[in-house]
């Protein structure tokens, strides 16, 4: 018998402010897989990411989502997080006065407590964060800086990858993490994702450009158009899109 998929989305429909955005998404992520979701602006990529994370303004109007075989949509955002669902934000927020390391330790311990594990003490955490900061090539001084405050765009994204590396989610969703990044940062994002490429885990990478996929070879690429997956394929599909753009889908959408 096959292993339970990490994520199984069936006919998912959702609206934002009474505007239907997702119109029937079907998508399955098996263990160890990395999927890329591409598509033109406004096609629903970020909506999909936010619906999976449980953001409240996104209202599910139909369909189902199973995470590790269990209903995901009934869980609160923090329950999803504690169960191992991680969203790397497109626009990470600033939390003044709260140090990066304190924030991360609080998050890690909330998740550990949920799993019945002992909280990590400050000393052990220091070791962990040092190691992971090295991995994402961040200056150790960022530990003591307030969460994302005064960070450049690239530093914020790198910080998201740091959080991902520490929390080791079962399902990581990257919402346009690559936008605005230089080549070094792209490579780090890719390395962060590759580190999660192992049994039991899966990654959903939402991206507008093919660029990130030069560093990160997805197992599947899906093209989202008007709230539906219009085409699925392998890395070749991404390259094709790079060449032709999304024009083909625009015409098919109007047809």
């Amino acid at each position: 018998m096959a292993n339970t998929p990490v994520l199984e989305i069936k006919d998912l429909q959702a609206k934002v402010n009474d505007t239907p955005i997702l119109r029937g998404i079907n998508l399955t992520l098996q263990q160890g897989e990395v999927h890329a979701i591409m598509g033109p602006n406004g096609s629903g990529k970020s909506t999909l990411a936010n619906v999976l994370a449980g953001r409240e303004d996104y209202v599910v109007t139909g369909g189902s989502v199973k995470y590790q075989g269990k209903d995901l949509l009934g869980l609160s955002p923090e329950e999803r997080a504690r169960e191992g669902v991680f969203l790397a934000f497109q626009y990470p927020v600033e939390i003044p006065g709260v140090s990066n390391s304190y924030f991360l330790r609080t998050a890690l311990n909330a998740i550990r407590t949920h799993r019945g594990q002992d909280p990590v003490d400050a000393m052990d955490f220091l070791k962990l964060i040092k190691e992971k900061m090295k991995f994402v090539e961040m200056d150790p001084k960022f530990q003591n800086r307030a969460v994302n405050q005064g960070f450049s765009g690239g530093e914020k994204k790198r910080n998201e990858i740091l959080q991902m590396a520490i929390l080791e989610p079962t399902l990581a969703i990257l919402d346009e993490t690559d936008s605005g990044l230089d080549i070094d940062a792209l490579r780090i994002v890719a390395e962060g994702v590759n580190a999660l490429r192992k049994e039991n885990h899966a990654v959903l990478v939402v991206t507008h450009y093919q660029r990130l996929l030069d560093y990160l070879i997805p197992d599947f690429v899906h093209v989202l158009v008007d709230g539906k997956i219009a085409r699925s394929g392998d890395k070749g599909l991404a390259l094709e899109l790079e060449e032709k753009g999304y024009a083909e889908f625009d015409s098919s959408a109007t047809a």
Binding site: A53, G54, R55, E56, D57, S76, P77, E78, R80, A81, R82, F86, L87, F89, Y91, P92, V93, E94, I95, P96, G97, V98, F103, L104, T106, A107, L108, A110, I111, H114, A146, Q163, L167
Partner: protein, 481 residues
Amino acid sequence: MSESASKIEELIDREYEHGFVTDIDTDEIPAGLNEDVIRIISAKKDEPEFMLEWRLKAFRHWQTMEEPKWHNVHYPPINYQDIVYYSAPKSKDDMPKSLDEVDPELLATYDKLGIPLHERERLAGVAVDAVFDSVSVATTFKDKLAEVGIIFGSFSEAVREHPDLIQKYLGSVVPVGDNYFAALNSAVFSDGSFCFIPKGVRSPMELSTYFRINAANTGQFERTLIVAEEGAHVSYLEGCTAPMRDENQLHAAVVELVALDNAEIKYSTVQNWYPGDKNGKGGIYNFVTKRGICQKNAKISWTQVETGSAITWKYPSVILKGDNSVGEFYSVALTNNRQQADTGTKMIHIGKNTKSNILSKGISAGHGQNASRGLVKVMKGADNARNFTQCDSLLIGDKCGAHTFPYMEVRNPSAQVEHEATTAKISEDQLFYCMQRGLSAEDAVSLIVSGFCKEVFKELPMEFAVEATKLLGVSLEGSVG
């Protein structure tokens, strides 16, 4: 309303934790205020004549005054004749001689509050003077402090044992007729703490007072006087709680700090009086006058965390009289549900090269109204005076309010006065971000709020900082939108 908003409302709705009533015998006088009542209070306390005269002078002055109306708080008129002006726990033999003689019920009350006196005596190294309703109940560590010449104990005792010091310093910073509530306090104050640190002595421990209002319809009017002689140093902590009652109770305290040349006084308060229920019923009216005076090179630092009371009206101030003296004010004031706070500070620069620093953090949630009021006054002779003021407000939800009223009077052209103010809101984005990392809405709010207050909390002594962080968490339960 969004989901996280309703969660936050749930959190804000959490009930007051210290709202229990202790069932003990009390010695009370009937409600009402006249010269006879003042004579009774003075007689009960076995006071010298000068003290009674001082009280009567204050009372006569008070009768000519009008309750202030300029503040941004609203409450029904207070009937000063309905208040009981003296209530003391009845002890078998007058006052307890040691902790062992203190009513066990009373000690249990302090235990519930998390300030076990015995515990502190052994562990914390904090000397505590606990004021219950109107009387100072027990003072820990008295003997140890006496060895270095520090006098620390109840105000009444000090009036009897050190009348010369009291006569010299009482009212020297806050005169009897200073303001309506201070005058009332001067007339009827029943007890409080007195602390005297002699020349050159650095207090070996932090000194602490815990105030609790227990009896119904009782006003609490305590008086604190701290005198640090030349070169002396002291750090003083004050904590407050009260039971939940439907009626409003009045608390009108006066605190006077005297810092002589080169002395330093650090005064920290965590105020957690009962704030009333979520509809604004009950709660403490907290009208407090706190002021300090700095002589040459002296420093006074006020740090306050105000989470309780239905109404808070207080402006801890520093008169920078001596050259090179320094005044500091660090404040976190939180209002939730129907709470109102009008608080801030006054820095009066008189001496040359005087410096003041004001950092005020206001948090409003529910229907809370928070006014931050600051006066910086630079007198003619205050050459090179410096002030920096920062007022930050954080709003949680959309029914609360934050107001900032900065006043500056500068009469010396060499002075530098700076003021910065910000207002921010806890956003849905911040909450969702924290929750997506596994934090509950409640923990997310308290994390964001503690980040907002960080600069003030780091001024608090360690154990108070921990308590303050917890208190904010509790006080905020149910508050985002």
